[in-house]
Assembly symmetry: none
Homo-oligomer: 205 residues x 4
DNA sequence: CATGAATGAGGCTTCATTCAT
DNA sequence: CATGAATGAAGCCTCATTCAT
């Protein structure tokens, strides 16, 4: 793992900076298609899936994948960062909503439900709690902050125990997501496991 | 991936069948060494580790590995089965102990703690809950039964909610193990996450 | 990089055809820049250097390189031809000078010294002696003629043995250049090796 | 160029040490075949030739090449070392012969003649003079020593100028070999070029 | 039985060349 | 005309698996 395998400071289109050339229209389209394909393929078959399969899924040549992501590791990192970004945006979108308790548990459940199919999404959650690489650090922080906000509001509303911290919350989200993913076929088991964790999170009466 | 690439129902020496020759003494020794090495290597580096590394760790030639486990998948399955066996034996050993509640939670905690270093152990737990392959089915059932017994006793003793089933329990064990594994460096986070789940498992006062 | 990367005689205008349009001003400028960049890059990193690197060094797009030189081989040939042209011009410039002996040896030394940094220049010299391709043939002949003239004058002045021909002279220039290039760090070794060859070229007393 | 791309301290069979396992009979045979094939292929097509072609020429699978030489660079280095070894042995074999002058010039001529087809042999000679890598250092020294001995004896016998050193001698051998290689088709040119250098090496009358 | 050499399919990556913008 | 994105063949290397020793 080279330390600098990132795709640069975020996708060109979203880095506020602007130093990166804006990328031609078709190039941007292809980059997005490759990223989406990579997300799907790696989710379905694990990170061991071949780059060639990503290319095939994206409907582009193998060279195109490597033009946008010069390394397989860079591609994996980009997928990770993208997931973190979506997660952060999702959490941020809930920040102002009413009924913080309901919002908090709904967010938790949604994360778990998504993680069920998006396999490695759970690993992403871990990143948010630990901030491993420089590339993911930025978005990891954002996720952490947004989730912390949801948690704090839910606690203030008396819906969640006061002694719960973000770290263990993220760890639990990741863990339950992974568990849910395995028990994929049985929705009831998933629901019950989630209910148990939710009960554990609520204040003791 | 053939679903049934196992080495047979467990090591030849323990299958009820009996048609399998009993294996020479040195052969048995080698099989055990390979299995132990595989467990260690796959735990440390993931299932992507090379067969050759397993052979090196075991101190045998590569040919020996393939003589005992004709496929890498067979080797992985054998490791899985072995883990399930140890897990079942561990649970079975607690069956008669006093204070079923304490025993139950201690077992849960021990599983999580082991899973922390034995990475894929968590995946094993899933197998126990789902019984994917024919190979793991037997030991999966045994684990399930042993854990069910521990759970039932704890419930009878009033230490665990009545509406918790084995399926979600195993799922939670797997999930928390995974969470613990990620938060490897932070023991406090691990403890808190575990406490939350334990609280969720206890009867509402 | 190269002092004289002009487009001059060597531009498309020399293909017997003559139907080639005279090239727009900016196009001519770009062609020269690409050629100079290619000379520098191939000299520094060998002919294995990528076309893209040439484009970068020239400050143009990759498409521009291929517009002017439809093939990498065409680009290499153009560099070769350009070097031959400069070599010929250098030799021709000395044709009328006084003290033909000194001029001859100075020219030899200069070629070797240039070849030391301009790596493949030595290969160029060979081309001059052998006229491999049709493309280099013309300038190869010119170099040969110019060097032959320098040699003849030196021989007439009694500074060089009568039995030395152009062919072996060019071969020696190429060889010593190559040797010098390897012994790059040790100027004294280079000087001594050159002195030995020079002594071999002088008439026996 | 990783510093440690060597094949180890020489081919196992020839390192006096003996710590390296002796290599099975068939393995040794294959290693030799690969090395010979590599020598031939790289000589004929340059170091850019593909490893696959070496394998084909050797009549082995691609994996076999990489088993013996874990990197293309390692393979190239091994070829280099082997050439140096043969060169050293050749020179050492002449050490005791009568008529040191004749022996010296014959050796020089033979080196050049071999270098003519063995393209990169010339580059090898350079290594002998410079000792670039640790891998070639050992044999480079041996070549240097053996050639120095031949030179010293020739000088003592009055056949070679006193002021010639090994460094420039090796440089000249490399250079003339390269020149000869280019003038491949014309034996007379080669002979004349060699004669000129020989004259330069002889004492002035 | 144990060993490790041989094998070759498959993965990642580079790069000359083409073509839409 | 200039640009740079797209393409895919080809190269290096890894690794599961087979088989002679």
């Amino acid at each position: 793992m080279t330390p600098d395998a990132s795709d640069g400071p975020g996708a060109p289109s979203e880095a506020g900076a602007g130093a990166e050339r804006p990328l031609r229209a078709d190039a941007r389209r292809n980059r997005a298609r490759v990223l989406a394909a990579a997300d799907a393929v790696f989710a379905a078959k694990g990170t061991g899936a071949s780059t060639e399969e990503v290319a095939r899924e994206a409907g582009v040549g193998i060279g195109t994948v490597f033009r946008h992501f010069p390394t397989k590791e860079a591609l994996l990192t980009a997928v990770l960062v993208d997931r973190l970004r979506r997660l952060a945006e999702d959490a941020e979108a809930q920040a102002g909503a009413a009924d913080p308790g309901a919002v908090f548990f709904a967010f938790f459940a949604r994360v778990v439900e998504q993680g069920r199919t998006k396999n490695a999404f759970t690993d992403v959650l871990h990143e948010a709690g630990v901030d491993v690489t420089a590339a993911t650090a930025e978005y990891g922080k954002r996720v952490r902050a947004a989730v912390a906000e949801l948690l704090a509001r839910a606690q203030r509303a008396g819906a969640v125990r006061e002694d719960v911290g973000v770290a263990e919350l993220l760890a639990l989200m990741a863990g339950v997501s992974r568990a849910a993913e395995r028990a994929a076929s049985d929705g009831e088991v998933r629901a019950k496991a989630l209910a148990i964790v939710f009960d554990g999170l609520r204040p003791r009466p």
